[in-house]
């Protein structure tokens, strides 16, 4: 397990915002002009977003945000490897929000056995369906027991809750693996 936390999810789900809410330094971004007409954004991440939580001295935890489009799924896998955990952010205002979750769970399946995971569903105040219950049921179908909560990543408290849920899982794993 390395000292990193990864934020992933489809485009516009709030990954960069979430990292910005936590990072002790201005996040480094690899945003470029967006040429994909299906995305209502001027820019898009093609490498990764990078932030840092400084603990003390030289100790730090790195924060990574992945690109959101499926064509960059190799970056999801590279970054998630050996992380403390991964936050999958879903934008519930997208018509295919549930299939986005499927996409990430399938793509990261080999890694989710070893890293903590939490699903944060955004924009539920204006777009309550699919419900949090429905997302939880879909997780169960995939064979996973991860927390699913509704969040607004513009609120630091919500982002902190996501991270605490990751830490809880990671700590439990370390304690249960002790001989």
């Amino acid at each position: 397990m390395e000292a990193k936390i990864v934020f992933t999810g489809p485009p516009n789900a709030g990954k960069t915002t979430a990292i910005g809410a936590l990072s002790d330094v201005a996040p480094i971004m690899t945003d470029v002009d967006n040429n994909d007409g299906s995305l209502s954004k001027d820019t898009t991440t093609v490498g990764f977003d990078y932030g840092v939580v400084r603990i003390d001295g030289a100790e730090q935890v790195r924060l990574y945000g992945t690109p959101g489009q499926k064509r960059f799924d190799f970056m999801w896998q590279i970054l998630v490897r050996d992380a403390i955990g991964v936050v999958i952010l879903i934008d519930n205002s997208q018509p295919d929000a549930m299939s986005h979750l499927d996409e990430f769970l399938i793509s990261l399946e080999g890694y989710l056995r070893d890293v903590a995971c939490v699903i944060g569903v955004g924009r539920t105040e204006t777009h309550p369906m699919p419900s949090i219950d429905a997302f939880a049921a879909r997780l169960a179908f995939h064979g996973h027991v991860f927390p699913v909560i509704d969040v607004d990543v513009r609120r630091r408290g919500d982002v902190l809750m996501l991270v605490e849920l990751l830490l809880t899982q990671a700590e439990a794993r370390l304690m249960l693996e002790r001989p």
């Binding site: 390395e2 399946e109 027991v145 902190l160 830490l167 700590e171 304690m175």
Partner: protein, 245 residues
């Protein structure tokens, strides 16, 4: 790992060979192993452009249709997946991903309720499980944000029972919470049907034997952490830095 069957229909031998080569590279997926079959039942049929009509519609199979040179694919059903005639590895990989996602969605829609990750060993009336709290408990679904926010201490306990079935005694030790707090949280989870209950207070003999047989290196892994690797201490310091209890 389950097996998924892919059957070519009306394809040339060259196209079939290409599929075989693709499957050698990417047939082994995260959840399924794809194999090519020549007949019998199949999960995915890949049809040549003119062969679609020869395939009876079968809701259990997905159908992909290759276009003819310079022609759009002649698919009979809206559900069919159109493929370019010069199918490349990337498109083939996307096809498998799409079919796997459809299979996952179709299976989820027939599931009445989430299945617990481990079977309940013995059914016990809810009331006696709540009353005695004997046996071991495992989380089958995390509670929602409302309970998490109203019971911040519950979060630490949940991490353990999300990974394995744990008795109340052990849960008290692991979580650092007193018995009363553990009891209240577990009872809340039971009332919400979020826990699977296991009658035995300790792990079955087969599981104990498996843990004894674990290779010696398993223990060594937890003794020291290499530079850059994570330790429980770092997680604790991160917890404190972020202001968690």
């Amino acid at each position: 790992m389950s097996t998924m069957r892919l059957q070519p229909v009306g394809l040339t031998e060259a196209d079939v060979t290409r599929l075989e080569v693709f499957l050698r590279f990417i047939g082994k997926r995260a959840r399924w192993q794809w194999v090519l079959v020549r007949d019998g039942a199949a999960d995915l049929l890949i049809c040549a452009a003119g062969a679609r009509r020869s395939v009876p519609s079968d809701p259990a199979s997905e159908v992909a249709v290759l276009s003819g040179p310079g022609q759009p694919p002649q698919h009979a059903l809206d559900r069919d997946i159109a493929l370019p005639s010069n199918l490349d590895l990337e498109t083939f990989q996307e096809l498998l991903t799409k079919v796997e996602a459809r299979m996952a969605i179709a299976a989820a829609s027939t599931v009445a309720a989430p299945s617990p990750p481990m079977p309940v060993v013995q059914a016990v009336p809810q009331r006696s499980a709540i009353a005695t709290l004997e046996g071991r408990f495992r989380l089958i679904r995390w509670p929602g944000a409302e309970l998490l926010r109203s019971h911040p201490k519950a979060v630490r306990l949940l991490g353990f029972i999300a990974r394995e079935a744990i008795s109340m005694d052990r849960l008290e030790t692991l979580s650092g919470l007193d018995r009363a707090a553990c009891t209240e949280i577990v009872q809340q989870l039971l009332r919400r049907d979020l826990l699977a209950w296991h009658a035995t207070a300790s792990a079955p003999p087969s599981m104990r034997l498996a843990s004894k047989q674990a290779p010696a290196t398993e223990g060594a892994r937890s003794r020291t952490t290499a530079p850059g690797e994570l330790s429980a201490g770092l997680l604790t310091r991160l917890r404190m830095k972020l202001g968690f209890s």
